[in-house]
Amino acid sequence: MSALLDVRGLRKSFGTTEILRGIDFSVAAQELVFVIGPSGSGKSTMLRCCNRLEEPTAGHVFVDGVDLMAKGTDINAMRRRIGMVFQAFNLYPHMTALGNVTLALRKVLGKGREEAEAIGIAALDRVGLKEKAGNYPSELSGGQQQRVAIARALSLEPKIMLFDEPTSALDPELVGAVLGVMRDLKEAGMTMVVVSHEMRFARDAADRIVFMADGQILEQGSPAEIFGNPQNPRTRDFVGELSR
């Protein structure tokens, strides 16, 4: 199995504070990797380095074999292949759901309005919100907004999807539909890295769990290994705390 995402020696400091202290990990095609760990462990920063929304201080990130940190790399071209979903949805409030989904199709891929809208509608249909295409974000529930955000990323046909706590801002009753969409993506063969506290989802959907603390990966393994028989004492504490 070749790695679709390969992170090598990743370091990130904000001022004198070191957030990431040498991260190495890779994600194979069609793999769903869950990143868990206590807050402040650098999970989100690590994820944001994977499309250079956060500029790494040192290290390399390879996506589909391309070094994102290399000088000649067109980062905007690479980002279309790396879908990202945010905790706060970050939908554009002045555009309809369809407008949100088609913006990059038109501006980045240069598609005409009709073609972009056809793709956009298909993407919204995939997350079950075709009928909300004409609605503005403020007219949608949090769960619907997040699904539009997923459609926005999906419409560009990314090779990999990064999820940064996609359900943390949602009311509990809205979480299910978002996780349902993620499960569908997994079944469709999407490669995914998910930073999340949805442990039940991690347990039954993830191929691999990565445990991070203090800017390092302390342990990784299958859900059965991490939840059933954690080796590192910090992992044990964290998992124990969660299952209490």
Binding site: N51, R79, G83, M84, Y92, P93, A104, V108, E139, L156
Partner: protein, 227 residues
Amino acid sequence: MTGLERFQDAFLKPELIERYWPDIVSGIAVTLQIAVAVVVTGLALGLFLAVIRSYRIRLLNLPIIVFVDIFRALPPLVVILIVYFGLPNLGINIPGFAVLWLVLSLVLAAFAEEIFWSGIVSVRKGQWDAARSTGLDHWQTLTSVILPQAIRICVPPLTNRTIAVTKNTALGTVIGVGEIMNQGTSAMSLSGNATPLMMAAVAYVVIFVPVVALGSWIERRFAWKRA
């Protein structure tokens, strides 16, 4: 003579209104031309500077900030006098009309830059994240995502500032530009009566009330439903 008649005689004399209204009308034409020119160049330059600033290139930001702070601090009258009476000593002669346009444009640009800039930074950072993560570059993100939200926030303060700066066209009086105020005060001196000044006041109201209305129309036009 009653009080009201005395007031009418000093401020609203019909024969003076008749005699001087062509002057005031020509003043209105001049004021409108300068005002429109100032609004166009001032807002465009202000937006341009704010956009440059959004790239956060230190070498460019410093001069922008210095320019903005100086022109917000200086009374426009001082700058107008220096440019109009000072520059000819260096062999640079600029007509009064152009001096007024140039200086007021720079003043408006300085204030507009600050307003546009504060609008840009008030848009949540997640909007940049979302747009950039889909491959939009800085310029595309700014024009498609950030500015449409920022400008909406900017409209009320921009309207106020635009009106405040364009009213300063009245300063053209001191350098002989034939705008409303100049026409009004000249006619006042000639006639020894304040009626032309009242006419000038009415002219200003006639010009600027529609601008205020336009501002609130734009405000509504740019509004969208918010969460």
